[in-house]
């Protein structure tokens, strides 16, 4: 049961990282551009 839970945990980190990192990068790029332009 513990193995299954830790396996799921690793999969979750990988899956969310796979989509979350590019999305966060894109959002940060947009925010930086927006803030830079308002200065």
């Amino acid at each position: 049961m513990n193995n299954a839970a830790s396996g799921n945990g690793l999969k979750l980190v990988l899956a969310w990282g796979f989509v979350g990192i590019p999305l966060a990068w894109g959002v940060i790029q947009t925010l930086i551009n927006a803030l830079k332009l308002f200065q």
Partner: protein, 456 residues
């Protein structure tokens, strides 16, 4: 095992212990990719210089001709979602995601070829038609799967996926610019190579989604969740067949609810930059306007997750009441912010409006689930997306023509949008009335129990 059997529903059933929190990233893998459509405009200028490289030559494509690529893509999104919704529902999410990946990536490859031979018709076919099918199939592919995995939080689950569609442009825009800068030479703008690279990247990304998506085993329910035995006032426990849904007034009322909400939002979305500059002349520069549009896109994306999640607590009908009531007040307030020269209030009004515009898209799948059950919700959602296609034509046309009419009749540019805002407010009042008329679907439309049982 053959590829087709690997993709079918039977082989997509989750094993015991499979975490349902793996399904939103699977959906995001698809939606983040197809959300690139919102950033297609970054290719417009480079594509007008494919022959001239540093400047357009007479044989280069015109911006007006290139505008059709995006329009065709959105049109075929609606067409494919409406036509193929039932196939997506019955074939399962993995087959649909795989097909969407083939169409979407294939569209980029064909468009790259179109750039290479400099034939715009090839690009219309590649990105516009084939890519449009990828958009439509991809958009609806994870909807019913998410709703089945999250019967306790359907709004939040679909909100996460549809947020990805709004967020895809944030990745695609800088990625496209970066790739073009890498592939460009003194004699070449690098669009074709960028299309090829993006097709390959998107195909791999979407295939990860297809690989990790699973459907819950029959009878599965989240730990600690007890499904309601009796239907609540506006949440059915029954199912309605996809084409029977078209015979119900509820489908058409929700169609108008979505269409009116999107018409109001999409109309000002395309004009946000020009509007902010014209309403505050000499104070908002083109550079500031561009940053304003970027910020609004963030609210559009965030609103998708926020409002869809909130709808799980507020109820779908109440959430749309907020969109329409608050939206009416805000649209009516915008001309006053212009007259008072109050930029911060203008930005706040727009931020809330755009969050509700995105929220309208993201909350509607759960609204359909409440009305028509989970069995064909993806297919019914596909049919409903024709409201989006319609709004995509109505909204910009309304805003542009009203502004043009005012300007040619001597109204100052700073006030030219006032009537538009009041018209949008009236549209939202109509949406409020449609939402008010929504009642539970009559039981004569419900499927019989044996028909409604999920076949695997």
């Amino acid at each position: 095992m053959s590829l087709s059997s690997l993709l079918d529903k039977k082989h997509s059933i989750a094993p015991p212990g499979y975490s349902r929190w793996l399904i939103p990233p699977a959906a995001l893998c698809v939606h983040l990719c197809i959300g690139q459509a919102y950033a297609f405009s970054v290719f417009n200028l480079p594509m007008t210089k494919l022959l001239g490289v540093t400047q357009s030559t007479p044989d280069d494509w015109k911006l007006t001709d290139l505008g059709w690529i995006f329009s065709l893509g959105i049109f075929f999104l609606g067409v494919s979602a409406a036509l193929l919704g039932r196939w997506v529902e019955e074939g399962g999410p993995r087959k649909a995601m795989f097909t969407a990946a083939l169409c979407w990536a294939g569209g980029f490859v064909i468009s790259a070829f179109g750039c290479y031979i400099h034939n715009l018709w090839v690009i219309y076919f590649g990105y516009g038609i084939l890519g449009g099918f990828g958009l439509g199939i991809g958009y609806i592919s994870p909807v019913s799967t998410l709703i089945k995995w999250f019967p306790d939080r359907p709004g939040m689950a679909t909100g996460m996926a549809i947020m990805g569609f709004g967020g895809g442009a944030f990745i695609a825009a800088p990625l496209s610019v970066w790739l073009m800068s890498k592939f460009a030479t003194q004699t070449h703008v690098g669009v074709a190579e960028t299309f090829l690279a993006m097709g390959a990247i998107y195909f791999c990304f979407m295939m990860v989604g297809a690989a990790i998506v699973r459907i819950p085993a029959p009878g599965w329910k989240p730990e600690g969740y007890t499904p309601p035995v009796e239907a609540r006032k506006l949440i059915t426990t029954q199912n309605v067949f996809v084409y029977d849904a078209l015979k119900t007034p509820q489908f058409w009322l929700i169609w108008w609810v979505l269409c009116l909400n999107v018409t109001a939002g999409i109309g000002v979305l395309g004009q946000a930059s020009a509007m902010s500059q014209e309403m505050f002349p000499d104070r908002v520069t083109p550079v500031m306007a561009a940053s304003f549009v970027g910020l609004m896109s963030l609210f559009n994306m965030g609103g998708r997750f926020f409002w869809a999640s909130m709808s799980d607590f507020l109820g779908r009908k109440n959430t749309y009441f907020i969109f329409f009531a608050l939206g009416t007040v805000l649209y009516a307030l915008i001309p006053n912010t212009g007259a008072a020269g109050n930029i911060p209030l203008f930005v706040i009004c727009y931020a809330v409006i755009f969050s509700m515009y995105g929220g309208g898209f993201a909350t509607v799948p759960a609204y359909l689930r409440d009305m028509f059950g989970t069995r064909y919700v993806g297919a019914i959602h596909g049919l409903l997306l024709t409201a989006w296609s319609m709004a995509g034509i109505f909204g910009p046309v309304l805003v542009n023509y009203i502004r043009e009419y005012n300007v040619t009749h001597g109204v100052a540019k700073a006030q030219a949008y006032n009537v538009t805002m009041y018209v949008m407010a009236v549209l939202l009042v109509c949406g409020f009335i449609c939402n008010l008329c929504l009642k539970a679907v009559h039981e004569r439309h419900h499927m019989k129990l044996e028909e409604a049982e999920d076949f695997i």
